[in-house]
């Protein structure tokens, strides 16, 4: 691991095809800064991306990476980390990928608490398919497939995470570049599953959850000296408070023990002997 890694080392030479002004640019920059700030380099970093606009992130970043099946990025990331705990694993996806088609995996990834980071670019819309309701779209948000709104409450991802036993829950805003990078960095540094929901506005299809909306309504918990991120009940109250949008680390469990540690996983499993293990005949003898 080299100490002179700059965040641009995590950038590939492929130009993003995101719309000009897309929140995903800022989200990605913050991820790259956080990775560089935590002493990682592209050769020891594994980025897993989902499907959708957000899923393209793996192509624009430079690292070992997997761009997988829609909604299944989290299990891929967990598999990578379990097989080689030395790697820094970051999973990125969108609100559709994480909270709709991949919602089941989200709940179980949170429970499993593998030491990795999950960044969700939440724009509250399906962008790449040109503007349909997402699981975080507002109840009355009119789209081509929901002309009168979805008429169902949006998923509260942080509440879902808290209920599933999350050890680190944070929220950031892609346009607040410094804070976003700091928060992702804290998620990386957390011993366990670091979950960051990032408000990453879609400038083309979402005219409600806009940059202006988040700028006007975001409350940064870092500015509240009394807020204790280790207090479960306080976190629960903020998470269930529908009247505000919070930025910052909302909850962190100080006693988090990551999955790998619980299961004694320390080895790089890519290394195996040239033949059967030395004592392999013992396996046969068990069947006497």
């Amino acid at each position: 691991m080299s100490s002179d890694v700059r965040f641009t080392d995590f950038k590939s030479d492929k130009q993003p095809t995101w719309c000009p002004g897309c929140g995903d640019f800022g989200t990605m920059n913050g991820m790259m800064k956080a990775l560089a700030n935590t002493g990682n380099d592209p050769d020891n970093t594994f980025v897993v991306a989902g499907i959708g606009c957000s899923g393209k992130i793996g192509t624009y970043m430079h690292s070992y990476a997997m761009h997988g099946v829609h909604g299944r990025a989290l299990p891929v990331g967990a598999g990578v980390k379990m097989a080689n705990p030395d790697l820094e694993v970051m999973v990125a996806g969108g609100d559709g990928d994480g909270y709709s088609i991949g919602a089941g995996h989200f709940v179980h990834a949170v429970r499993r608490n593998v030491d990795m980071t999950y960044v969700v670019m939440d724009n509250r819309i399906y962008g790449l398919t040109k503007g349909q309701a997402s699981p975080t779209s507002r109840e009355d948000f009119e789209t081509s497939t929901t002309p009168e709104g979805p008429k169902q409450p949006p998923v509260n991802p942080m509440a879902l995470a808290l209920a599933a036993g999350a050890t680190f829950i944070a929220q950031s805003f892609s346009s607040d570049a410094m804070r976003h990078a700091e928060i992702v960095q804290e998620a990386i540094e957390h011993d366990g599953f670091g979950f960051v929901n990032v408000f990453s506005p879609c400038v083309t299809f979402n005219d409600v959850d806009t940059y202006d909306y988040f700028r006007d309504n975001l409350v940064d918990l870092a500015e509240d000296d009394d807020y204790d991120r280790h207090d479960y009940n306080e976190a629960k109250d903020r998470i269930l408070d529908a009247s505000k949008e919070y930025q910052g680390v909302i909850y962190q469990n100080e006693n988090s023990v990551p999955y790998e540690e619980q299961h004694g996983l320390t080895e790089n499993m890519s290394e195996i002997p040239d033949g059967a293990p030395e004592d392999a005949m013992d396996l046969v003898r068990e069947f006497y």
Binding site: P42, A65, A83, H108, A276
Partner: protein, 585 residues
């Protein structure tokens, strides 16, 4: 007296049928006799009907037969369920004191041994030992020295303390003595013992052991009958080699976890049955397109849908050979015996890594629930070879980088196989994706690169076809015009069927095929035979269809796969050109 002896214990699920049967099978194996077991069971935890059947002989036994010599019946239904297999002179051991067995009718010509199993067990320390009393009674009938049960009882009950072991030994002896004292019937059985050492295992265990031998370090799965035994075998053992088993939330996660493990460089595997294969098929194309080595075991059961979860079928062959949208290069292996489950698993890992391709290993319920004896040398660990394929390290990676020092995980090579760099290798960082991609792994829709990458992936299969032996096994009279072909677990039954046919003066040439895709070219041997019969446990004859397809040579092909539809003028040109060509496919 036939050379083989067929024994069964049957009752309700929850009666301890499996463990009792296993104790007897193990005792026979340790006494140097060959064993082949089978189970009748239902998808329920308690109640219903369940049976554990043991066929044994001094010679190797490779199949079940429709004959039962001794039956321990814990319920009246056990007798009804087995009427077709029982014959004149069959012995039925039952407990006439048991409420449900009072007044039970023993079919005409059969010998009923009414043994107070429960009373004897209670006298020796507890009613729970009644099955062991029955085992002792069966030993008396079969003239099988009771001492051979001892080590198997120790293995089963050793963890519960010596007193429990001793009680069980006494219970078995009491059962034997009761038969000797109360029945003077001359039983026509004599279970001869030998000094041979055998191991006794089932197909799922053989797959698990093969995986460990092959260096599998990462297993992700979701419990499903009849594949769960693979996962349970690996749990507690794989850790000794630094590996890990993870129970996923579903099969979608299982295969993606395994995919992650494989991308990190571990030899990774998952095992499931048909319903799980359906879910895993979602990710199958990604594994192939991203050129990730992965072993996927399908322990088949009766489908479609939930079907008959505890019954046998080889119905998933088409799914394994053709499943998934788009066209997906793959390998499909089908071990033909329990021992071959071990060998083909090792081979599956090597094929997966040499050709960076997913490999299906097709086993089935019949193999999963069969405990079979083998000489331990059958599993020769020294003979296990590991071939990891074209893996590059920090020193060799330079050969596979472009002028900008970017690694080319999908380099266009003559044999189709590209270099592989494990995460952590300097200068090897790269993207793997389900999108069509260039040599660097970056998405592309360039028509030429699309065609080159499709061709390259298919070229790996062609390379494998040339380099690997794809050997099959032959039995019977190879000069016979009666050709029988089967795949997977039918081999044992067919091998023994040859003997039955011989008795009737019928010769057959039997070919047992362990490779479905790619597969050996059988078109010539099929052409030369007078009659060709394909044996498989399904309704439509899926392998037969494939073999017929192989023999069909009338069709010429025009294909286009660069992402652009056919254009009329171009198509006319293609047709004209193709008409003048020789048939190739």
């Amino acid at each position: 007296m036939p050379a083989d002896f067929n024994w069964a214990i049957g009752g309700e699920a929850g009666d301890g049928i499996d463990s009792t049967g296993k104790i007897f099978a193990q005792a026979l194996s340790r006494a140097g006799r060959h064993v082949f077991t089978s189970k009748d069971f239902a998808s329920r935890i308690r109640g219903g009907y369940t049976a554990y059947k043991v066929r044994t002989s001094v010679d190797q036994v490779q199949s079940v037969v429709d004959r039962l010599d001794v039956l321990i019946a814990l319920t009246p239904r056990t007798i009804d369920e087995n009427l077709d297999e029982l014959h004149e002179g069959s012995v039925i051991v039952y407990d006439g004191e048991r409420t449900t067995m009072q007044g039970v009718e023993i079919p005409e010509g059969m010998v009923g041994l009414d043994v107070p199993l429960q009373s004897i067990a209670e006298e020796k320390g507890g009613a729970i030992m009644r099955n062991v009393v029955a085992l002792g009674a069966a030993c008396a009938v079969a003239d099988f020295p009771i001492e051979h049960l001892d080590s198997s009882l120790e293995k089963r009950f050793g963890g519960k303390g010596q007193a429990i072991v001793d009680n069980n030994k006494e219970a078995a002896r009491a059962g034997r003595d009761y038969v000797h004292e109360n029945y003077d019937h001359e039983f026509d059985y004599d279970l001869e013992t030998t000094d041979n050492d055998y191991v006794l295992l089932n197909g799922d265990e053989a797959i698990g052991m093969g995986a460990l031998a092959a260096g599998c370090r990462f297993y992700a799965g979701y419990p499903i009958t009849p594949a769960t035994d693979v996962m349970e075998y690996l749990t507690g053992r794989i850790e000794q080699y630094g590996g890990h088993v993870v129970q996923a939330e579903d099969e979608l996660a299982a295969i993606n976890l395994a995919l992650g493990g494989a991308r990190a460089g571990a030899r990774a595997m998952t095992a499931t049955s048909g319903p799980g294969i359906d879910l895993m098929t979602e990710t199958f194309g990604l594994i192939a397109t991203s050129e990730t080595p992965l072993v996927i075991v399908d322990v088949m059961r009766s489908g479609p849908s939930t079907g008959m979860p505890t019954k046998q079928e080889q119905g998933d062959l088409n799914q394994m050979v053709y499943g998934g949208h788009g066209e997906i290069p793959r390998f499909t292996l089908a071990p033909t015996t329990v021992a071959e489950c071990f060998h083909k698993t090792v081979e599956a890992f090597n094929l997966a890594e040499k050709y960076q391709t997913p490999v299906y290993l097709a086993s089935d319920l019949a193999m999963a629930v069969t405990e079979q004896t083998f000489a331990p040398e059958e599993f020769d660990m020294d003979a296990v070879e590991i071939d990891r394929g074209k893996v590059v390290d920090d020193d060799t990676i330079g050969e596979w980088q472009n002028e900008k020092e970017q690694f080319k995980p999908h380099a266009l090579t003559d044999d189709g196989v590209s270099p592989r760099s494990f995460p952590g290798t300097s200068g090897g960082a790269h993207m793997s994706t389900g999108l069509e991609h260039d040599e660097l792994g970056r998405r592309t829709e360039d028509t030429d690169m699309r065609v080159e990458q499709v061709d390259k992936r298919n070229r790996k299969v062609e390379t494998a076809q040339e380099r690997e032996p794809w050997a099959y096994r032959e039995f019977g009279d190879t000069d016979s015009g009666n050709l029988v072909i089967s795949w997977g677990s039918n081999e044992g039954a067919m091998v023994e069927a040859i003997d039955f046919l011989e008795e009737e003066g019928i010769d057959v040439h039997f070919i047992s095929v362990p490779y479905i895709f790619p597969r050996p070219d059988l078109s010539e041997v099929i052409e030369d035979a007078d009659d060709v019969i394909v044996v498989e446990c399904n309704n439509t004859g899926q392998f037969a269809d494939i073999l017929e397809h192989d023999a069909l040579t009338r069709v010429k092909r025009v294909n286009k796969y660069n992402g652009v539809r056919f254009k009329a003028d171009e198509l006319a040109e293609d047709i004209k050109e193709t008409l003048s060509q020789e048939i190739t496919a």
